[in-house]
Each structure stands twice: as structure tokens, then as C-alpha cells.
Amino acid sequence: MKRKLEISELIFKIISYTLLTMFALCCLYPFIYAISGAISGRHAVDYSEIVLFPKDIQFEAFSRMFNDNMFWNAYTNTLFLTVYGTVWALGVSILGAYALSKKRLLFRRFFNFFLVFTMWFSAGIVPQYLNYLDTQEVFNAMGITDDKWLVVIAMGMAAMNIILLRNAFEGVPSDIEEAAIVDGATEFQVLSKVYIPMSKSTIATVALFFAISRWNGYFWARQMISNSNEHPLQVFIRLKLEEYTDPEAMAGWNEIYSSDSIIYALIVCSIVPILIIYPFIQKYFAKGVNVGGVKE
């Protein structure tokens, strides 16, 4: 009996390790392939002689990218959107979530419903687009002609994130707050000195969610930002992809690297900063699901 038991365990263990290794490699492979593709020679890329490692190494594709002002422009724009967008969204969310977490708030149920309803029902793309056009008009009339501010202020707010914060704030013991109030703290001081420090990890998770959705934002940025100098990185990558994968447009291509290498180089450039910060934020990212999955 003991022997048979070990065999079934062993078989399952072997299957686990094999399949997990395969899946993990599948997750990693496209990135390695992209790096190899970016620095391999033209013939190697065009006639798919690369499987894993680069061949006839060149860095021309990268240097072409780095010498492109538009590329740096796009990068700066994405940083702008990510930083300001996260700060704005997080600020509004923290204030709102704090108020909603208070039992003494009048019409609390109504405000909660006001929020949650936006998770159930969305007006759809066309009404949103018309609404953003109106907003753009209003912003222009106010003298804000940079469409990036429209993207920062009008987009990316998420009811789910506010609810995550609200739940975290509700979990803060009220004794500490009462002690602070006895010591003469105002509402804002209670928030900044008690609640925010005590829910640091949820705030970090929510900030990460906002930052990622800003960094990755594509559709609305492409629709609303007309000036190509203001395009964020994702839009820039997409436009380049559309340009360089058109076989007819690329017929006259004569560089020592393949036109595909440009795409791979771009992909690598957009992933590298994420890979650098990934180990530091991964734990908050993983925490986020457990917090967000099931509540109340």
C-alpha cells in the first residue's frame, strides 16, 4: 500500500514539473526571441535562422530607435501620463474611499451605488467618445490645449480600485482614529497620519493597478490625442508595427538589419523598464488579486 502511494505521488510530481517548466518556458520564450530578433542580422531574421540565440549580431536597429526623437518623445509622454495619471487617480480615489468608509456618512448607500453602478453598466464606446470630444472642447476653452491632460484627468478612474481602498480603510481599527481625534487631529490629519500609513500595502497595490493601466493605455490615447508629438509609447509602437509589417511599403528596404528588427527593438525597449521594476512590485501585484477577488 505504502509503495503504491509513493508511485502516484511521484507520477503527479513529474507531470507537474514537466508541464510547469514547459509553460514557464512558453511565457519566457517570446521575450527571448524578441531580444534575439532585435539584434540579429537581416538575413537571419528574414529567413528565420534564429531559434533562440541571436546571429550576426548588429545593434543598428537599436541605434536607429535611440536616434529617433519621436521614440524619446513617446517615452516621455508615457511617463507623463503614468506619473500624473496615477497621482490624480490615486488622490481622488483615496479621498473618496475614505469618506465612503465612514459609517456616519449620510447617503452612504447611495454614494456606494453611484460608484458600483458604473461597474455594471457602461455607456459604451461611442457615447464615451462624444463625451470626451465635449470635454476636449471645454478644456480647450479653458486654455488646456495639450490632449495629454484630457487623458490624465478624464480617463482611467476605476470604481473597483476605490472599493478596494474603501475596504482597506474599513479594516483600520477605530480606536486609533478616536485617539487621534482626542489629540485634536482634523479629518485630513486622521487620513494622512492614521489611515494612509495603516493601509500602505493596499494603496501600493491600487497605485500599481493605476500605473499599469496608464502605462498600457492605448485605445483612448490613440482616439483622443491627435498630435503625433504627444502620442504615448503604446500608440507609437502600434503605428510602427502597422508601418513596418506592410510588405509593399517595405519592398524597398535596404538596411543591414531587417525591418522586423525595428519592431523587436521597440518591443524590447517597452518591456525593459517593466522587467527592471518587476521584482520589486511583483509582491504587491500578486497581493492585489487576493485583496480584489472576494470581499465583504
Binding site: S8, I15, F23, C27, S93, A99, L105, W120, A123
Partner: protein
């Protein structure tokens, strides 16, 4: 003194042997009469708290609720100059046109609705089990370092933006041409004999038969690792003594799975499944938009991309496009609310 008619509002005063108005009722009356004044007073006393709420309310009002007003277009005659409020009512003509007219547009709408449903349905059938299985596998690895390594690798694709992910997919299955070979993945599939040379050479993304498979596989690649976190958390919470007890009773691996692991993660499974069913009509339109092209509309076009194609292109079709998306959004909302109600009944866990 306030006059009262019903005896309920009077109390008998023993000292003076007369009836007088119930003081509590007077307070209640007073509260009722001055309800809004009291509300305002409370708010004014606590003004800091209500001030904090203002930015959030404004943001949601301006950019979540005002668009809903634009939905009135669904019932109005299209007009390029007038705002919605001044357009003439056209009743349900757009809805009729989309649902029952049977012309080209109507067929296209039904196709989009069907594709939307099928894309999420296949996502549920093929995508849902993978994270659960991954979580079971993670549990088999006893070394923390090795397990973290596996987890970090499998979460990685979730960090990549939709644009980059679809760019990678496009490059992996791209079409061949005179000067360059087809994508590496197409070549692998071709050399394994799974697809013909013609098909691979023309580019898999140009072939409607492959769109769903590409969409699902890239979706699993992207999210399976990350989605496994919640199941893994449920599995790791199982006490080791449960396994030991099962082992002593002679349970082999399959029996342990069935009698120890499954019951422990069942509630998580059910909740996640209900959530997925609730979002059956919500398809990531950005990904579809980035992967589809005119050749693959047959299987790839979803309601959102349909609305986007018609509504953002010309202003005369805005009402029609909004009508299309509104129908799917209303069904979607009912599904979400239904799922949430079932989840609350089944497990005392409300998702919102």
C-alpha cells in the same frame, strides 16, 4: 401645542390627570419637518468629510454618467449639427433595424453578438481550468525558491501591454513574402504538419479560422499565471494535517485531490466561475481591435468593435452604433447582477 388626532400620539399624564402630546412624537415630527435642514446641518458640521467626496463624484458624474445621457441618441434621428437634446425622436427604429430588418447591417450585428458570446464562452471553457491546474502544480513544488521562480515567470506576460502582446503575436504568425519568411510560430506549426503551407504563408491572422484559437491561446498565455494566484492561495491554506489524515487512510494522489483539495477550493472555484459567467458579454475589445483585420471580421468582429467601426467613423451612424452596444451592455449588466446575486446566495460572499 400641536394638535393630535390619534390617541397614539397622546400620553396620559398622571400628575395633572390630563392627556398631553407625546414628547418623543414631537421630536419625530420635528425631525421629519426639518429633515433637510438637519441633513445640511450635519453635513456642514462634517464638511471636511463631504468635501473629500466631491472630486470623486465629479469625475464619475462627468465621465461615467454624462456619457449615459448621450445614449439618448439611440432613440433619436441622427443629426450632425444639433445636440442630442434637440434631435427628433425616432423611437426604436435603430433597434428594429439591427435586430429584425435582415439587411446587411443586421446580419453583421448578429454576427458580432454571436462572436462576442463565443469568444468569452471559449475563454471560459478553455481558459478557466488552466489557472486551477497551474495552482495544483505550484502546490507540488515544495522548494520555495523554485516555486517563486516559476510563479514570477508565469505572471510575467500579464505585465505586458496589450499592444506589445499583440505585436509579438503578429510577428510570431506573420505572413511570408518574397523577401522574408513567415513567422516562427507558423513555421513550427507547418513543420509539425498541423497547418498547410498555403495557410501559413498567407499569415494566420488573415485567416478567420484561426482567429479564435489565436485569441484564446494568447489570452491563456497572458493571464493563466496571474489568475492562478487566487486558487493557489486557497490551496496553500489547506492544513497539512488534512493530507496526512488522508494518506493514513490510504488515499492516493487522485483521492487526495478529490477528497481534500477539491472541497477546500470549491467555494473559490464557484465564485470565480460565477464571476466569469457574469462577464460573458465583456470582451477585451482592445485586443480584438489590435488583432483583427478585414479578412477576419467573420469570426473576430465583436459588438464593441462593430460599434467603434461605425460610430467613430461617421456621425450619421452614432445612434445606430450606440444602440448596438447598449443592447449588449444591458444584457451584460443583467448577467453581472444575476451572477452577483447567485454568488451572494450561494456563499454569503458578495462581489461588490
Amino acid at each position: 401645542m400641536k394638535k393630535t388626532l390619534a390617541g397614539d400620539f397622546l400620553v396620559y399624564d398622571k400628575s395633572s390627570k390630563t392627556y398631553r402630546a407625546d414628547p418623543e412624537q414631537l421630536v419625530r415630527d420635528d425631525v421629519e419637518k426639518h429633515y433637510w435642514r438637519n441633513v445640511l446641518r450635519t453635513m456642514a458640521k462634517d464638511w471636511r468629510l463631504y468635501l473629500m467626496l466631491v472630486p470623486m463624484i465629479l469625475v464619475f458624474l462627468f465621465w461615467r454618467y454624462f456619457p449615459m445621457y448621450e445614449l439618448l441618441r439611440c432613440f433619436k434621428v441622427a443629426d450632425e449639427v444639433k445636440p442630442v437634446s434637440e434631435q427628433f425622436f425616432s423611437g426604436f427604429s435603430y433597434f428594429k433595424r439591427l435586430l429584425v430588418s435582415g439587411d446587411g447591417l443586421s446580419t453583421e450585428f448578429w454576427r458580432a453578438l454571436r462572436n462576442t458570446f463565443l469568444l468569452s464562452f471559449y475563454g471560459l471553457v478553455f481558459g478557466f481550468p488552466v489557472p486551477v491546474i497551474l495552482a495544483l502544480f505550484f502546490n507540488e513544488i515544495k522548494s520555495d525558491i523554485l516555486r517563486s521562480a516559476y510563479q514570477v515567470l508565469t505572471y510575467l506576460p500579464k505585465f505586458i501591454s496589450t499592444v506589445v502582446m499583440t505585436s509579438l503575436v503578429t510577428m510570431l504568425v506573420k505572413q511570408g513574402s518574397l523577401t522574408s519568411n513567415m513567422g516562427i510560430l507558423s513555421q513550427v506549426l507547418y513543420s509539425m504538419g498541423l497547418i498547410g503551407h498555403e495557410v501559413a504563408y498567407a499569415g494566420l491572422l488573415n485567416n478567420p479560422d484561426f482567429f479564435r484559437a489565436i485569441y484564446q491561446i494568447s489570452g491563456i498565455w497572458e493571464t493563466a499565471g496571474y489568475d492562478s494566484i487566487v486558487f493557489f492561495a486557497a490551496i496553500i491554506a489547506i492544513s497539512p494535517t488534512s493530507y496526512e489524515a488522508a494518506q493514513i487512510d490510504g488515499a492516493n494522489k487522485m483521492a487526495q485531490m478529490k477528497y481534500v483539495v477539491l472541497p477546500s477550493i470549491l467555494s473559490t472555484l464557484v465564485i470565480m466561475l460565477i464571476t466569469r459567467i457574469g462577464s460573458l458579454l465583456q470582451v477585451g475589445y482592445e485586443k480584438v481591435l489590435l488583432l483583427y483585420n478585414t479578412n477576419t471580421y467573420v469570426t473576430a468582429d465583436v459588438v464593441s468593435t462593430f460599434a467603434q467601426r461605425y460610430g467613430l467613423g461617421s456621425s450619421s451612424a452614432q445612434g445606430l452604433a450606440s444602440a448596438a452596444e447598449m443592447m449588449s451592455n444591458v444584457i451584460s449588466m443583467l448577467l453581472v447582477i444575476g451572477a452577483n446575486t447567485i454568488s451572494r446566495k450561494a456563499s454569503d460572499v458578495s462581489l461588490y
